[in-house]
């Protein structure tokens, strides 16, 4: 089929090509997806990560507990406060203290807003992966602005806040935050309804994503899927309910699951989760208790090892912390949700027939965030 070249065209028997959807590609992000295909049907997928590995686990061994929050936040640039929350949760468990109630509610608000900020971005990328000309991506990116402005009002930064610390949060809610938040919630609810009409119910989007990339329930559990990818296969696993933290125990909300297990279900789970997030923020704003927002904590954390987890936007983010009594951790192992989700696509060609054009919708419905996987 044409001329032999000295590039990395490895023509295997049967006329298969190995196509590198590599780091320089409109859809791949900072990773490589090596696809073995004959032009349409995909026989093998291999995902290669490590392009943005920063060695955060090693860095944390040289930072004091409070300083460690900064590299942790930069691990994932989208929903930064979830990562900080996991680390803080581990520290507080080792210390044996609990943050004051008002701090817990403020934490909940920050976490849920982060979830919305992250989901809109991920959904925009999912729409763009079905070749939708960046229209939906730009709408969703524009609609995050009210929440980013709220975060700036509260913490001073738009993306990485360093706001959740062991012992509570850094500052109290400023004047006018409550009204602005209510406005933003109302605006976003309308936009979500528009998204459901123009996009989720759009028949071409459904054609591209229904029945595509089906991960059955038992396989999802066996392969270790996380977050919305797991909930779209019907497994009701949500750390906010299984092991409540912040103020989730006192708030009333449901876990969103879907039965279909395909890419469409994974997108729909995220949209519905955003509705739930808006409800949670409203409840937290209405029922906020009074009181202090921070406790002082000692420098040294007692010996012990603990596994703390939170439900970040991509899934369950777990931190296994081993402390030996000093003011720095001995070992921190971060179990990132994207690390578990990205590799799900490698298993799919073995259980169903995938076409080359299906790779982007499947990949982006798993919400792969390479920064997360690389740490």
């Amino acid at each position: 089929m044409g001329i032999m070249t000295i590039e990395e065209v490895k023509e295997l028997e049967g006329g298969l090509m190995r196509v590198r959807i590599g780091p320089q590609h409109p859809i791949s992000g900072q990773g490589t997806i090596v696809v073995t295909t004959d032009g349409e049907i995909v026989y093998d997928v291999e995902v290669d990560i490590g392009y943005s590995h920063r060695g955060i686990e090693k860095i944390l061994e040289n930072r004091r507990w409070l300083q460690g929050i900064i590299p942790m936040e930069r691990m994932v640039m989208l929903d930064t406060s979830h990562v900080a929350m996991a680390y803080v949760r581990a520290i507080e468990e080792l210390l044996g203290i609990e943050a004051p109630p008002r701090a817990q509610y403020i934490r909940t608000i920050v976490l849920e807003m982060n979830r919305i900020i992250s989901h809109t971005y991920a959904l925009g990328l999912l729409a763009e992966s079905t070749a939708w000309n960046p229209a939906v991506f730009l709408w969703t990116t524009a609609d995050r602005e009210p929440f980013l402005d709220l975060m700036e009002m509260l913490t001073g930064a738009r993306w990485s806040y360093s706001f959740i610390v062991p012992g509570g949060v850094r500052a109290d809610l400023p004047h006018g935050f409550r009204e602005k938040a209510k406005e933003a919630i109302k605006f976003f609810r309308d936009r979500l309804d528009t998204y459901m009409d123009a996009w989720i119910d759009n028949f071409l989007f459904e054609i591209r994503t229904r029945k595509v990339g089906v991960i059955p329930r038992d396989k999802a559990i066996e392969w270790g899927a996380a977050g919305p990818s797991l909930r779209a296969s019907g497994v009701a696993y949500d750390t906010r309910k299984n092991e409540p933290y912040a103020a989730y125990e006192e708030l009333d909300f449901k876990i969103v699951t879907e039965k279909d297990c395909d890419s469409y279900a994974r997108g729909a789970v995220r949209v519905k989760e955003m509705y739930v997030s808006l409800d949670i923020i409203e409840q937290a704003l209405d029922n906020m208790p009074e009181g202090p927002v921070k406790k002082t904590v000692p420098q040294n954390v007692p010996r012990g090892e603990v596994y703390a987890r939170v439900e970040s936007a991509r899934g369950e983010l777990g931190v296994y912390v081993v402390s030996d009594g000093r003011d720095k951790p001995y070992r921190v192992k971060i179990s990132a949700p994207s690390f578990r989700n990205i590799f799900l696509i490698e298993m799919l060609p073995k259980i169903e027939e995938i076409r080359f054009a299906d790779i982007p919708p499947i990949f982006y419905s798993l919400d792969p965030w390479f920064l997360d996987a690389d740490r």
Binding site: G50, I221, W223, G224, Y237, Y307, Y320, R340
Partner: protein, 155 residues
């Protein structure tokens, strides 16, 4: 959960080195390395079916690597941390890939960062480090004797 402890102890005897319940839905089980696969299969039958994480901790003072796997049970909602100690000079351990497919990538990363050989793992290849990382010269990144000095900039 007392019944799980009794079941494990009666089945495997003194291969179970430690069994702790630090919190409501956490169990920590420390096993000796030669029975690790059997214990893993037993736990899978008991309902611990979803792998969450796997890694290692380097205890240089005691000259061991402590390898751990973290598993969740979907019907009991309990997180179980399965640990085992292996020697630092000759670090090999049986891989648990056959028991839970999802630990494949975690074990690969642990091999890469610590140098622990997982026997039976289908693909021990570089994941996060570049392909031409020279272990003789640079060492294994997450071991405690890996110095960050060559990578820091003097002010």
């Amino acid at each position: 959960m007392v019944s799980l402890e009794e079941k494990l102890k009666s089945e495997f005897g003194d291969a179970i080195l430690e069994f702790k319940i630090p919190k409501d839905n956490r169990i920590v089980v420390k096993v000796s390395p030669d029975r690790i696969v059997d214990v893993a299969y037993y736990l899978k039958n008991e309902g611990f079916d979803m792998p969450i994480s796997a890694g290692a901790v380097d205890y240089m003072k005691n000259n061991v690597f402590e390898v751990f796997w973290i598993i969740w049970s979907s019907d009991k909602n309990i997180v179980l941390i399965l640990k085992t100690d292996i020697s630092r000079e000759n670090p090999t351990i049986q891989s648990l890939v056959e028991v839970w497919r999802g630990v494949q990538k975690f074990e690969r990363e642990t091999w890469e960062m610590f140098g622990i050989d997982f026997k039976g793992h289908p693909k021990l290849k570089r994941l996060l480090l570049p392909e031409d990382w020279d272990y003789e010269k640079e060492g294994y990144p997450l071991r405690k004797d890996f110095s960050l000095k060559p990578y820091t900039v003097e002010k």
